[in-house]
């Protein structure tokens, strides 16, 4: 795996990962496209630049942990884990197939590099807090990153966990909201408005860092700042575009849980190659 601080290189990696995601989803014929593309730039920054991690670390290492609370974006996590060497890339071909190591949603017993099982929305931040509390008891240095959706933020448990992290001053937790504005039934603001989301997290005792979630330099800077926050948890409120990177998928609710057809894949590949 290559670690880099160069945002141009990271942008290139993110583009390659978009290609991996789309190929994998087109082959599988089922899975979540839009929400995987919206968070892949952030996942790239974490896995290829900011997180202290390696497939060769033992469980005892002071490693950083990533929890994908919006588990349906599993493709974005899988392509990063594969490129980082957690498992052979050939497994990407068997996504969602019987006996494959890659389930439709992150399932920790079967996938190397997946820390906890997610997919039922709203539970990831609690899991992250638990890991962070365990780390604190053991004097471990790692940070626990937790990626949530804006639609997911409608789950009450998210706010229970927000209270917990603030109450226990978990400055080793960094939350990230992939704020792409869409959920399954439409715009988040139409289905069940969650704004003003930054104010809510602040009111719950979190440091909030607002960024463009597709600008690699901003992402890297935000991660550094979030990790540096002391005495309270930090949230990266990342504005993103669902389906980002493929023009005809961008901001389309219809691509939430659908995969590209052969034609669409070809068009998408051409677009991504042209970038």
């Amino acid at each position: 795996m290559k670690f880099t601080q160069d945002s141009k290189e990271l942008t290139d990696i993110a583009r390659e990962l978009r290609v991996d995601i789309l190929r994998m989803l087109a082959r599988s014929g089922s899975g979540h496209t839009g929400g995987s593309l919206s968070c892949i730039d952030i996942i790239t920054a974490l896995y290829f630049s900011k997180m202290n991690h390696s497939p060769h670390f033992g469980k005892d290492a002071d490693r950083d942990v990533f929890v994908l609370s919006k588990g349906h974006a599993a493709p974005a996590l899988y392509v990063a884990l594969a490129r980082c060497g957690y498992f052979d890339r050939s497994h990407l071909d068997s996504l969602r197939k019987l006996n494959a190591i890659l389930s439709g949603h992150p399932y920790s017993p079967s996938t190397p590099g997946v820390e906890v099982s997610t997919g039922s929305l709203g539970q990831g931040l609690s899991l992250a807090n638990g890991i962070a509390l365990g780390y604190r008891l053991d004097g471990k240095k790692g940070t626990v990153f937790c990626m949530m959706g804006d639609g997911e933020s409608q789950e009450g448990q998210i706010w229970e966990a927000a209270m917990t992290a603030a109450h226990y001053k978990l400055d080793n937790v960094v939350g990230i909201v992939d704020n792409n504005g869409l959920q399954i039934d439409g715009k988040v603001s139409d289905v069940m408005n969650i704004e003003p989301i930054g104010d809510k997290w602040r009111a719950f005792g979190w440091e909030v860092i607002e960024i463009d979630g597709h600008n690699m330099e901003s992402i890297m800077d935000a991660v550094d700042r979030a990790v540096a926050v002391k005495g309270k948890p930090a949230l990266i409120w990342a504005h993103t575009v669902k389906g980002k990177g493929v023009s005809f998928m961008e901001n389309k609710v219809s691509f939430h849980g659908t995969t590209p057809s052969a034609d669409e894949l070809e068009k998408a590949m051409a677009e991504l190659a042209a970038v």
């Binding site: 017993p109 099982s117 609690s126 807090n129 638990g130 008891l137 053991d138 448990q157 966990a161």
Partner: protein, 324 residues
């Protein structure tokens, strides 16, 4: 029987948890604003750094416990049985059981003996809810001695566990040197006409019923079955084949709990009549614990009557055909 000393199972839980905490630094405890009632407060007083009060937020408590387990801790999470099993059922399934994480859920105030708080607080479905979950072990101790033994054993055994205790004090059945084994039932009384398989509070009632039956010349075996899952199938089959009639008794709905578990095994292996004593498809009401047990038919006379009925069914046509 009626003169047995009564002791609190939750007191035994709190004391044993604190004892275990002194032996193993990895043990942590979580509660949802009921630590005084569940007795995790005993642990909290001794190990404040390893106790996490999660507030009135059971779902967050269970998933946080799962995260702690993922980080190598042995979390004991407690609340009233209805909230620990029901309010957070999906968290138990997704955060704990799916990843097979080492979380111990010790639920107090199970069953109808929670009493005056009424039906909203009487967990009569928790065993059903927990029993369907893969990887989950489900245990219902019958007295304070067994409760302490269960805690020591599960702290040493990897995997998710649900333990249900009650608010009330129960008669002490076992001597202090009692050894608990996960998945093993205990024959408390031998008998040849009918077997009563019970858990929790109903174990003491089953013993009383067996004495009542003995006076009528009926020889009833009594089995304490603390592990609802994995069930001691061999013992159930042995009881079915040696007595030919079974009664189950639990302070729980007859749907999905111990009675259902026993029936599943009996029907598939050694078909004999099984009569279930427990709550029959309804919610309870407020009242005194013993009053409620009597009113809803979870007492010694009800168990004895079920035994007579089970024995009567033994001589039915199915059994006769089998003998031909």
């Amino acid at each position: 029987m009626k003169n047995r000393e009564k002791k609190s199972l939750r007191d035994a839980y709190g004391a044993t948890l604190a004892e275990l905490g002194a032996q193993n630094r990895n043990i942590v405890a979580l509660d949802a604003d009921l630590s005084g009632s569940t007795r995790t407060s005993v642990f909290a007083a001794k190990f404040p750094d390893r106790f996490f009060n999660m507030g009135v937020a059971e779902q967050d408590m269970i998933s946080t416990a799962a995260g702690l387990a993922a980080a190598g801790k042995i979390p004991f999470a407690s609340s009233f049985a209805i909230f620990a099993s029901g309010r957070a059922w999906e968290q138990v399934r997704q955060s704990v059981c799916l990843s097979n994480l080492n979380v111990k859920i010790v639920a107090t105030h199970g069953g109808i003996t929670v009493g005056e708080d009424g039906p909203s607080h009487q967990a009569l479905e928790d065993l059903t809810l927990m029993r369907v979950l893969p990887n989950m072990t489900v245990i219902v101790p019958c007295d304070a001695v067994e409760t302490a033994a269960v805690m020591r054993r599960i702290a040493d055994t990897y995997g998710p566990v649900y333990v249900r205790v009650a608010r009330e004090k129960f008669p002490v059945i076992f001597d202090a040197d009692y050894k608990f084994n996960i998945g093993k039932g205990v024959i408390l009384r031998h008998g040849s006409d009918v077997a009563i398989i019970a858990c929790g509070y109903l174990v003491s009632k089953a013993l009383e019923a067996a004495e009542e039956l003995a006076e009528e010349g009926i020889s009833a075996a009594v089995v304490n079955m603390p592990t609802i899952k994995p069930l001691d199938e061999d013992l159930v089959i042995q009881m079915a084949s040696t007595t030919g009639a079974i009664v189950t008794a639990e302070e729980h709905s007859i749907t999905g709990g111990l009675g259902s578990a026993v029936m599943e095994v009996v029907c598939e292996n050694e078909p004999v009549p099984v009569i279930r004593v427990g709550m029959k498809g309804r919610f309870g009401s407020s009242g005194k614990p013993e009053e409620l047990m009597d009113y809803y038919g979870m007492n010694a006379p009800a168990v004895a009557e079920a035994a007579r009925r089970a024995m009567a069914l033994k001589t039915g046509p199915v059994q006769q055909n089998k003998k031909d």
